[in-house]
């Protein structure tokens, strides 16, 4: 678990683990898995809220629950930068982790694959593989997206690659 900051780690350990190992094509088993996904997401969300650390909104955009969309945000210098968030559940899930996409930032940073998929740290994949059936979407968000946002947004803001929406509007207005 090295490679992550202590806050992330403590949070991660508090997210309920999943048990069912089944992908989107496994039918009923997938439903069971999906329910567990929801439970863990609820717990994670509540945790974040109670710690005054709420940073995303997501929801399944198809009934199978294989595509998720939502928003995520990061507060930097008392300004809130908000981005669209979307990802698909791969068919080999849960062996393969979902690829999180921030389409608004596509082409603005090097730490990103084409199409806005974020580059995760070297530590993520082995950890995920090790905890194959137990980690779910909540874990992927906590381990993948949250550290990425904390690392990349300040750099992007400071370099002027992204602008706060108020600034953007004001600049456009002016």
């Amino acid at each position: 678990m090295e490679g992550w900051d202590p806050n992330t780690k403590s949070t991660l350990t508090q997210i309920p683990l999943l048990t069912t190992k089944s992908g989107p094509r496994d039918g009923a088993a997938w439903t069971v898995r999906l329910k567990e996904e929801y439970k863990s997401l609820i717990a994670y969300t509540q945790m974040n809220k109670s710690n005054d650390n709420d940073w995303f909104r997501i929801s399944a955009s198809n009934p199978e629950g294989t595509r998720w969309t939502g928003k995520c945000w990061y507060v930097y210098n008392l300004l809130k930068y908000e981005f669209d968030l979307q990802f698909d559940i791969p068919v080999t899930y849960p062996s393969t982790a979902p690829e999180l996409e921030l389409p608004q930032l596509d082409g603005k940073t090097q730490k990103m694959y084409r199409g806005g998929k974020i580059c995760l740290t070297v530590h993520f994949k082995p950890l995920w593989a090790k905890n194959c059936p137990r980690f779910g979407i909540a874990h992927a968000l906590c381990l993948g997206l949250a550290p990425w946002l904390a690392a990349e947004i300040p750099i992007l803001v400071d370099s002027g690659m992204i602008k706060h929406k108020d600034d953007a509007t004001s600049s456009t207005e002016s």
Binding site: T31, L34, K35, I42, T45, K49, S59
Partner: protein
């Protein structure tokens, strides 16, 4: 899509819609609180914790502290500060107010303790106590980490209620344990039959307890035993007496002791302190007289306590001995455990002895020998007699063999010579006579008085009528000595100096005499003559000397006359012969140059003239000496006829006192020598020493003497018929005529004498003498020559007579 999934979707949606809680940073909160305080919204004191993360009000702190104390029962203020996380200063301050508010709390040594805590502790202690039967308070104090006083004060009110036991000398005991130890103490105390130091007993009991309890046994304090023991004594469970808190004397021992003393004393009429000490009575006299006054009639002595019957027995025996005019050894009459001091003390308690002492009928020597006066008188008389015989034998100058053992004789001789000196002194100053006895008599008298004072009454003289005559004698003597005493006072000192030279039979000598007279004493005093013989001799000596002196004084009176006569005679005779001697000496000067003749002449003079003179002097001096000593001297037949051998002379000279002896010896020596001069000087010294001044030859006297000598010689020559003896006389006469010197020449020196004459006489005279002398030298050989000599005699005679006439 089942319902559950929808429900979960909905819940997730709801969870995401829910308002997230808002968190303020610490810094914001602190600022907020400060703002509130500034705004007086918070108008009470607010404390913050040591971590700086919390605010707490005083009331809350107080509540927390009280709960904490109540929960734990006992907590230190420091711990309390840690628990509440508030600064110690506030906690301490609050602790004080809490203690005052809550009566059941107490603050000791920085700790707050509740009563209930102590109750529970007491219960614990009680449990342990019931298990171990005894616990040391110190142990408890260490265990609870509180002061010894505190735990004692806490336990005190709980003893008997919560803690069922007894606190004794810093130890807690259960009643059962106390009862057991008490039983041990009782058993030990009852078992003891001899006086014991209780601490020893306690230590042995302690050992016993430790053995019983094994290694776990806690040392029981001695004071615990002591208090139990005291209780037992008070309760009458054990009987005896305790002295100084630790010396226990059991009643049974005291009783046995008393009975033992009683039985011994009643059986033997005495008991020695040693026995009492063995019985464990440290102060026997006190015990017998004060502590235990059952023997009121008993008398304490130095080492023994006696019943009066014992004293009566001794009294009777001694009285008997005194009446018989004998002596008694009190110590031999008493049991062997009696010391001389005891015997002496008992004698002081004997009435008859005291009376006898007071009336001078008895004397005590060496503490316990009682001698009657008559007995002593006998000894005295005997000794004086002995002394006389000795003095006589000495003065006669010969020792009678078999009279006495040699050693005695020598000593006696020495003593008597010393005596003679004293007698001289005595005659010099008559009143000094008794001087040397003064102090001794006085002492004796003083003690006598003391003795007399001690005896109660004295009027039984009639009992001793038999010894009355002797007593009266003694009394006479005593009074005389007493009168002399009164004179002595001032002279004592000077006399004491002389005392060394003073004469008296030595104590040793008297002691030996006494031993010879009373053989019993030897048996008694052989091991230690000091006990009786010496004091007795000491006591008797003055009396003996006194008696003897008186005897001698009487003798002196007789002798004095004779002495004077003797001296006068001696003086006369000496004068005469000494003048002659001087005369003859002068003639020797003629032959000074002729060495051999001179020697011969000197010798001749010494032999013929000096020797009789010396003998006469020595004899007379000796006689005078004896007379002085009061020795009876037979009237000597004729002093002229005396002649001594050189050995006799030396012996007599030695017998003279002091310096005279030396000088007389010198004379005797000179007599054997060759020089008349030395003899003359030493002879003069002797005569001067003995108070006989000799006349010196002066011219006038010399002439007279020479004249008479000449006359005598002339008459002798004319009357002489023997031709051989005529020659020396003629020669002498010729010397007188020629040289006016009186020559005494032996036959050998005649020829030399004649040759000396030749140059003074005429031819014919010389011829006659020479011829005669030559003939005389052969005269011994034949009668014929004698005849020739006889024929020549008239010629020779005429030669002299003629010369004398011319």
């Amino acid at each position: 899509m089942d319902d559950e999934l929808l429900e979960l979707q909905r819940q997730f949606e709801f969870a995401q819609q829910a308002k997230s809680s808002i968190r303020l940073s610490d810094r914001n909160v602190v600022e907020l609180v400060q703002k509130l305080q500034q705004l007086q919204v918070i108008d009470f004191e607010l404390l913050h914790t040591a971590s700086g993360k919390e605010y707490i009000t005083l009331d809350q702190l107080r509540n927390e502290m009280v709960t904490e104390v109540k929960r734990l029962g006992r907590i230190s203020v420091i711990d309390l500060a840690d628990v509440t996380g508030v600064d110690l200063y506030y906690v301490e301050k609050l602790a004080q107010s809490i203690i005052t508010d809550h009566g059941e709390l107490m603050l000791t040594e920085g700790e707050i303790v509740t009563e209930s805590y102590w109750d529970s502790i007491a219960e614990e202690i009680n449990e342990r106590l019931q298990e171990c039967s005894q616990i040391a308070l110190t142990e408890l104090a260490v265990q609870l980490n509180v002061g010894l006083d505190l735990i004692a004060s806490v336990l005190e009110p709980r003893l008997g209620t919560i803690v069922k036991g007894r606190l004794e000398g810093g130890q807690l005991y259960t009643p059962a344990y106390v009862a057991r130890v008490s039983a041990m103490v009782r058993g030990a105390a009852r078992g003891i039959t001899v006086p014991t130091n209780l601490t020893v007993l306690w230590s042995s009991l302690q050992n016993l307890l430790q053995e019983m309890d094994g290694a776990s046994g806690v040392a029981v304090d001695g004071s615990f035993f002591q208090s139990l023991f005291n209780g037992l004594v008070k309760g009458g469970e054990i009987s005896g007496s305790v002295r100084a808190g630790v010396h226990w004397t059991p009643a049974v021992f005291a009783v046995a002791q008393k009975e033992s003393v009683d039985s011994f004393f009643s059986q033997n009429s005495f008991i020695s302190y040693d026995v009492l000490q063995k019985l464990g009575i440290p102060q026997p006299v006190q015990f017998l007289q004060v502590t235990n006054p059952r023997y009121p009639e008993g008398k304490p002595l130095v080492t023994t306590f006696v019943h009066p019957s014992m004293i009566e027995m001794l009294d009777a025996a001694t009285e008997d001995a005194l009446e018989r005019g004998s002596w008694s050894d009190s110590l031999s009459l008493l049991p062997s455990s009696f010391t001389p001091q005891d015997a002496s003390k008992m004698l002081f308690l004997c009435q008859s002895v005291q009376l006898a002492l007071k009336s001078n009928k008895a004397h005590i020597f060496g503490d316990f020998y009682v001698l009657s006066s008559s007995f002593m008188k006998d000894i005295c008389d005997c000794t004086v007699k002995e002394l006389e015989t000795l003095a006589v034998s000495k003065s006669l100058g010969t020792v009678k063999p078999g009279d006495l053992p040699i050693a005695n004789e020598v000593k006696a001789g020495y003593d008597s010579s010393r005596l003679s000196v004293s007698s001289e002194m005595a005659s010099d100053s008559g009143s000094n006579k008794h001087a040397d006895k003064g102090p001794k008599k006085k002492k004796g008298k003083a003690t006598g008085n003391a003795l007399a004072n001690q005896s109660e009454s004295g009027a039984d003289n009639q009992e001793h009528t038999s010894t009355k005559s002797k007593k009266s004698q003694r009394k006479g003597k005593d009074t005389s000595s007493q009168t002399s005493d009164s004179k002595q006072g001032s002279r004592k000192e000077s006399l004491k100096m002389k005392e060394d030279n003073l004469s008296s039979p030595s104590e040793e000598w008297i002691m030996e005499k006494i031993t010879a007279l009373v053989p019993d004493f030897e048996e008694q005093g052989i091991d230690d003559p000091e006990t009786i013989l010496r004091p007795l001799a000491n006591k008797l000596r003055p009396t003996i000397i006194n008696t003897w002196m008186e005897k001698r004084k009487a003798l002196f009176k007789d002798n004095a006359e004779r002495m004077k006569q003797l001296l006068d005679n001696l003086q006369k005779k000496l004068d005469e012969s000494f003048l002659n001697m001087q005369l003859y000496e002068k003639a020797l000067e003629l032959f000074e140059d002729d060495q051999s003749t001179s020697v011969v002449l000197h010798r001749h003079l010494l032999r013929t003239v000096a020797a009789p003179m010396v003998d006469m002097l020595l004899h007379d001096l000796d006689e005078q000496n004896k007379l002085k000593n009061g020795v009876e001297v037979q009237e000597s037949p004729n002093s002229e006829s005396i002649s001594f051998s050189p050995g006799d002379r030396a012996a007599i000279s030695k017998s003279f006192p002091g310096a005279l002896s030396n000088k007389a010896l010198a004379v005797v020596e000179a007599l054997e020598g060759k020089r008349v001069e030395t003899f003359m000087s030493s002879f003069r010294a002797v005569t001067e020493e003995s108070g006989l001044p000799l006349k010196k030859l002066d011219k006038k006297l010399e002439r007279t003497l020479l004249h008479s000598y000449r006359k005598e010689l002339t008459s002798q020559v004319s009357a002489e018929t023997d031709p051989v003896s005529l020659l020396p006389k003629v020669v002498s006469l010729l010397y007188v005529q020629v040289y006016h010197k009186a020559l005494q020449a032996p036959g050998r020196a005649i020829s030399v004498a004649i040759s000396q004459l030749t140059d003074k006489l005429d031819e014919t005279a010389c011829k006659i003498i020479a011829d005669y002398q030559a003939a005389a030298e052969d005269s011994c050989a034949s009668n014929r020559i004698r005849e020739i000599l006889e024929s020549q005699m008239p010629a020779l005679k005429s030669l002299v007579s003629g010369a004398s006439r011319s």
